[in-house]
Symmetry: C2
Subunit: 343 residues, 2 copies
Amino acid sequence: MPELRKDPLTGRWVIVSVERGKRPDQYAPLEAPAVLAENSCPFCEGHEEATAAEICALRPAGSAANTPGWQVRVVPALNPILRIEGALERRPHGIYDVVSGVGAHEVVVESPRHVADLSELDTPQIDLALKVAMDRLIDLERDPRFRYVLFFKNSGTAAGEGKHRHSRSQLIALPVNPSRIKDELDGCLRYFEAKERCIFCDLIRQELLGQERLAKESSHFVALAPFASRFPFELWILPKRHSADVSLMNPAERLDLAGLLRETLGGLRRVLKNPPYNMILHTAPFRRPRLGYWKTIDQDFHWHLEIVPRLTRVAGFEWGTGFYINPTPPEEAARFLKESPGG
Amino acid sequence: MPELRKDPLTGRWVIVSVERGKRPDQYAPLEAPAVLAENSCPFCEGHEEATAAEICALRPAGSAANTPGWQVRVVPALNPILRIEGALERRPHGIYDVVSGVGAHEVVVESPRHVADLSELDTPQIDLALKVAMDRLIDLERDPRFRYVLFFKNSGTAAGEGKHRHSRSQLIALPVNPSRIKDELDGCLRYFEAKERCIFCDLIRQELLGQERLAKESSHFVALAPFASRFPFELWILPKRHSADVSLMNPAERLDLAGLLRETLGGLRRVLKNPPYNMILHTAPFRRPRLGYWKTIDQDFHWHLEIVPRLTRVAGFEWGTGFYINPTPPEEAARFLKESPGG
């Protein structure tokens, strides 16, 4: 009999095939492998003119902007979903609400070389890419028009990457708070009110004790397959030290995270043969003083990364219910990843 | 500048490209058109042995079950996501919650002929298919283990249909309430508490007044492109008469709905060239006496059908935020459909 598992944060249920779990090799690719069109890649070193002027870059002192020589480079998105210019306007439209589409949409190019996935870079380079992205996140936080910055990665066509396979991540600054993040914050607050403990800290404690859903572990982080995984091989990476806000991560923790990301994404790549995936950061929203009901956010929320390989289709059942059907139990996913050699 | 629009029910925001809206012919197909393998179709008349024994069928008096001659036939799903046998067991797993995977999963075969889409049937046949589906929904409601029955349709491979293109819908009875439905009910209740009116009734009133998002209209129903459409050419079909529960629809209304469905789905088929789509019924959950806080549900909730063509990919931004990016304003979608000839 399949099992319905409840996500302790949001109350969302997932149907897990606990008996005959689907193995990695039973997922047909949702897409043909992308063709690497290196010559035409706008993110490669030497093609700086193919993007809009860079927002910032890690480059040697004295080297000019928009020229080769950089290590990590941040540029405006080629097709931004929100515009940086303009005032934030909130207005009614009959019974409806509208906000002007003001925001920022930036691309963090994680390597000057034409490398498809973050896990192909070495740990110090991943650390630099994380540093630059976190610096941008902190900088965007200063803009009073914004309430949240989403940091994420679309890897592979089925995950929305587009036609160029060059390792990069995106930052989108939003004038409103994402409902997904709000739902999580609400869940964390409910748990904290009942127990005076962070739900993620409890979850990490249980998973370190049981080990069956633990995929990888480093000094400061754990990578685990969540109990109510929506997707096969879904993984969460969480800091062991309680912290609501990713911008408070220290350099030693960041370097440790870079190594764990390399191992975890590399493990997924080997076990699932280069799957398309999305990676999404969940961190506390800023402008907190204005949001009265999140008073305990520093105590009750715990930042983390979600990694979701795109192996299954979302259809009428998922849209209609908000529930998911997961053909691979997280315990099996964790076992496959644990047995895969590191980065 | 794009526009952020808020769904008045759930608070979910959608980014709408209001300036340069994408036209129907600018969406590349997400999949190759499915090959009709009529000979091997388990849903065709004459292939009754290819499915499990029928649950019920509309067939002439005296005709034997699982033989040809039926008009509409209901069979167990070939790959059920939940099992009908077994007790409903709720148990903890450390800090987590688990419910046994008890449920029903049925397929309503809408025609004995190998027809790909509901809109290719004539109105009386669509009416029969709706009647049988609603009868099954009411019957499943009697099982005390269930809390909600999801009625939906996956049409086309990218919408999760599977390899056989034969017009059919699905019913899944669940032992828990879907979070999507709960979110809607919460939104409806909040609106009702503030205004003592049904939010959907207000919405229908505004859309009939403005007309710009109205795609089709019949005696008893409207088909409209919702203001905060998550997807291009998303449509909602709502009864003009306030009603929380689809099972209270009368035969005249059902026949009228059948005609409107034929026109609306036929319009989508012509404008978007046979797009894959999902159609999902949202109706009030049953076992209501046990759910104290939905006291006003008959007044505040309004049943409806959601139709979502699958033309865009959902990627990191959507997963991370719960928000959507819609490249075609609903006003334009409604105009294209309004101008398309009826069923």
